[in-house]
């Protein structure tokens, strides 16, 4: 018996077991899925798209921490120092509102893409999908494609099986550790981290996070795979709120395909009363979540379009028109819409609302980032002393300025006051703050005691960069007159 026959036998046994009604525990043993990768001689259309997103996302993820900018790492989220560097932008904890903007943009992009194209994120860009794709590629290189893997897993342990499994896990762990190292490299300078790791002098927290993220990658992409989408991912479950009957989904054309059957060489399919589905089962074999798309839309479907590729390939070989399994909408299927009519329905209120909000928030964020003043000031009255007498019949108030220079260059600032007649700065009116540093600067204000009535007066303090008058912050505070 050759490997292919053995594989078929196993597959039939498995599908028979899952089809029939059974008395089972509430906690079922997971059925291993062996998605088939090879469809034709070359990469199929959507396969190419998936690999393109794998390349793009991973080049960005693995490459970004190695870029340099202004003699530092270009992208670094320095949690200990609470500075977040993104190329020329230095964000401080006070800038958390920008993160909110980015999260809203991410959420509305997700809503928009899902409303139009279904689970595009899941199928093409989600790290779970991308790393599973990577790990399965490694697995195929070492153990072979679907049938070989099925046979290998059912074979008793042997030196060869052990060697293959060991090689696979070693390769997985290597990729996972590199991923963990890269991840931590976003939070602590990656070059120094690498040197520390080579010298085995890595700090406790860094080591923990490298190991944790590496383990999560290895576990999720190597072992958990579709279970993450089926049981753990909340997005998979609330996607239905964003779907409607005009959302593009991976669909099997039941009208055209049924009744399914292999057909015969002697008689035409029409004579046999058969639809276009030749029931080859390839769409099931390639499915990474192990479902049969011919049963209709299911929550397990991550929309990766592997079954479209598989079916198109078979249709081509059998000389039938492509698109038996295709991106289509519920309405297009039911009403028999052509492609143009289907696409025209993309323009519907839900899509306009999502796009409108997305555009508005994106524009608002861009404007806010462009107009942000790289200077933050907190003005605090001295708590111990109210007003005090000063020489020459003057009244003095004392403040502390917390001045944050959020640029990466040393900068001089001047301080000026307004709001009371004769109010003047008695402390240094010009001071410097180091690059990306905070300085606590005392501020002493004097006014003529005779001209300031007892009680509190509103005044304004303006801190301005000496080299750029546009960089200024105006803070209001109170000035207290002497009690008479």
């Amino acid at each position: 018996m050759n490997a292919v026959d053995e594989g078929k036998r196993v597959q039939e046994a498995v599908s028979a077991a899952t089809q029939a009604e059974a008395v089972e525990s509430l906690y079922a043993k997971r059925v291993e899925i062996y998605p088939r990768a090879k469809i034709g001689e070359r990469l199929a259309w959507f396969q190419k798209w998936r690999w393109a997103t794998v390349w793009i996302t991973q080049i960005v993820f693995y490459g970004l921490p190695w870029l340099a900018w202004n003699d530092r790492q270009a992208v670094l989220f320095d949690l200990a120092a609470r500075r977040f560097y993104i190329f020329g932008l230095v964000l401080w904890p006070q800038d958390i509102v920008f993160l909110t903007g980015i999260l809203i943009i991410a959420a509305f992009s997700l809503f928009l893409f899902t409303a139009v194209g279904g689970r595009l994120w899941c199928g093409y860009a989600c790290p779970q999908t991308v790393y599973t794709e990577l790990f399965m590629w490694i697995e195929r290189r070492i153990e072979g494609d679907r049938v070989r893997r099925m046979v290998l897993d059912r074979a008793p342990m042997s030196a060869r099986k052990f060697a293959l499994k060991a090689a696979k896990h070693a390769a997985w762990i290597a990729v996972a550790l590199w991923t963990g190292y890269t991840f931590v490299g976003y939070f602590t300078p990656i070059r120094e981290l690498g040197a520390e790791m080579l010298a085995l002098q890595i700090g406790g927290w860094s080591a923990l996070w490298v190991a944790f993220y590496g383990f999560a990658t290895y576990g999720n992409a190597g072992w958990m795979r579709e279970q993450v989408c089926k049981y753990m991912c909340p997005y998979a479950r609330f996607q239905s709120a964003m779907f409607d009957k005009d959302t593009l989904i991976v669909t099997y054309d039941t009208t055209r395909g049924e009744p399914r059957g292999p057909g015969s060489k002697k008689k035409g399919r029409a004579d046999l009363g058969l639809g276009d589905c030749v029931d080859c089962g390839l769409c099931v074999q390639v499915c990474p979540t192990g479902i049969d798309i011919r049963n209709g839309l299911q929550y397990e479907c991550i929309g990766c379009a592997a079954c479209i590729d598989a079916c198109d390939h078979v249709m081509e070989r059998t000389g039938l028109p492509k698109g038996l399994v295709r991106y289509s909408t519920t309405n297009a299927m039911r009403e028999g819409l052509d492609t143009r009519a289907m696409w025209r329905r993309v323009f519907r209120p839900r899509v306009f609302v999502y796009s409108g909000i997305l555009l508005a928030i994106t524009a608002a964020l861009a404007v806010a980032v462009a107009l942000r003043v790289p200077l933050k000031v907190d003005l605090i009255r001295d708590r111990g002393a109210l007003a005090r007498e000063a020489d020459g019949g003057q009244v003095e108030n004392v403040y502390r300025m917390q001045v944050s220079n959020t640029t990466e260059a040393r900068r001089a600032f001047t301080v000026s006051v307004a709001g009371l007649p004769g109010l003047a700065v008695a402390s240094e009116a010009r001071f410097e703050v180091g690059p990306a540093a905070v300085a606590s600067v005392p501020l002493r204000l004097l006014a003529d005691a005779e001209q300031v009535a007892p009680g509190s007066h509103k005044i304004a303090v303006e801190i301005r960069a000496a080299d750029d008058p546009a960089v200024a912050v105006r803070e209001t505070t109170t000035f207290l007159g002497l009690r008479r």
């Binding site: 089972e24 525990s25 509430l26 906690y27 079922a28 708590r383 111990g384 002393a385 007498e389």
Partner: protein
């Protein structure tokens, strides 16, 4: 400390905790033994919930590893309750962990880490520490946390709290005098002197004389009348009004006034007396911290001299 003064509540909480943990484990075990009909058959088991007349909830089995995660949480809580104090005051856990104990061990770790740094400054004399940039910054932080409440964040004081940035020192401004003031505090007591100077108008006369000592605006007729009455004040402030640092009696011949330099405020001072208290920081700050903050105060007063000293003191 606690609202639950009766030991009954300890047992009550412990019982509820133990029963909950065991109950969770037991429930999980019984559910793992349950068998239900699943799949595409004609009559699968449902949870029995029906919505809208025909919507039923079928059983979709969880993966088995999920069940093991539940068991792990049960095991975790058992181990946790054995090691840590989770069962009230009657069983404090094998590790004897307390939050105050953790705090103390963290304080100890910090002392071990920063101790050498403090010790290195303790070996230097006050002007040398004041000239050291980091030493001065450390002193400044201690000052902001402990001294700024009265003396102001810029050290310029306020009414009744001396200005530390000028050249006037009620109790002497040398490094040792500053340190003594911080360690032991200072208590300045000016008794009410109205009767001693003759009371009534005489008090105002003395006040005018005191103002004349520093060349401030005053009524010269009153001042000349007050001059002889000032003899009562000379015991502390000296015949010339130059003060006495040993007693904390201020120099009256300059224009620095702790409580105000008008006829009205000086009259009030003479009539009612003044009591100024600087608390002792011994015990609140350790020796090295006092040394550092003394250096910072020293640097506030004489910035020009400090800048000139580093090479000489090293």
């Amino acid at each position: 400390m606690s609202d639950f003064t009766n030991v009954f509540w300890d047992y009550f909480v412990a019982l509820i905790t133990v029963v909950s943990v065991l109950g969770c484990g037991l429930f999980l075990w019984s559910q793992s033994k349950r068998r239900v009909k699943v799949g595409a058959g004609p009559d699968p088991d449902t949870t029995g919930h029906v919505w809208d007349g025909d919507l039923q909830e079928f059983h979709n089995p969880l993966p088995r590893w999920w069940m093991w995660l539940f068991y792990i949480t049960v095991v975790f809580s058992v181990v946790y309750l054995i090691l840590y104090p989770g069962l009230g005051t009657q069983f404090r856990g094998l590790l004897n962990w307390t939050s105050s104990g953790q705090h103390q061990s963290e304080v100890k770790a910090a002392e071990a880490r920063f101790g050498p740094l403090f010790a290195s400054y303790l070996k230097m004399d006050v002007p040398a520490v004041a000239a050291d940039e980091r030493g001065r910054q450390m002193g400044a932080r201690i000052f902001q946390n402990n001294c700024a409440q009265c003396h102001g964040s810029d050290g310029r004081g306020s009414r009744g709290f001396p200005n530390l940035t000028d050249s006037e020192w009620q109790w002497g401004g040398g490094p040792e005098a500053i340190k003594t003031a911080i360690v032991d505090g200072r208590t300045a007591a000016m008794p009410p002197m109205a009767e001693a100077v003759g009371g009534g108008e005489n008090v105002t006369d003395v006040a005018n004389y005191v103002l004349s000592l520093s060349g401030s605006a005053h009524d010269s007729v009153r001042a000349s009348r007050g001059k002889e009455k000032f003899a009562a004040c000379a015991a502390c402030h000296g015949a010339e009004g130059k003060g006495n640092p040993a007693l904390g009696a201020p120099d009256l011949t300059n224009k620095t006034w702790l409580y105000g330099g008008t006829v009205a405020t000086i009259t009030e001072t003479v009539t009612k007396g003044r009591g100024g208290v600087m608390p002792a920081w011994k015990g609140l700050l350790n020796e090295a911290e006092i040394h550092l903050v003394a250096a910072y105060v020293h640097s506030l007063a004489k910035p020009s001299q400090v800048a000139a000293t580093p090479s000489a003191t090293k």
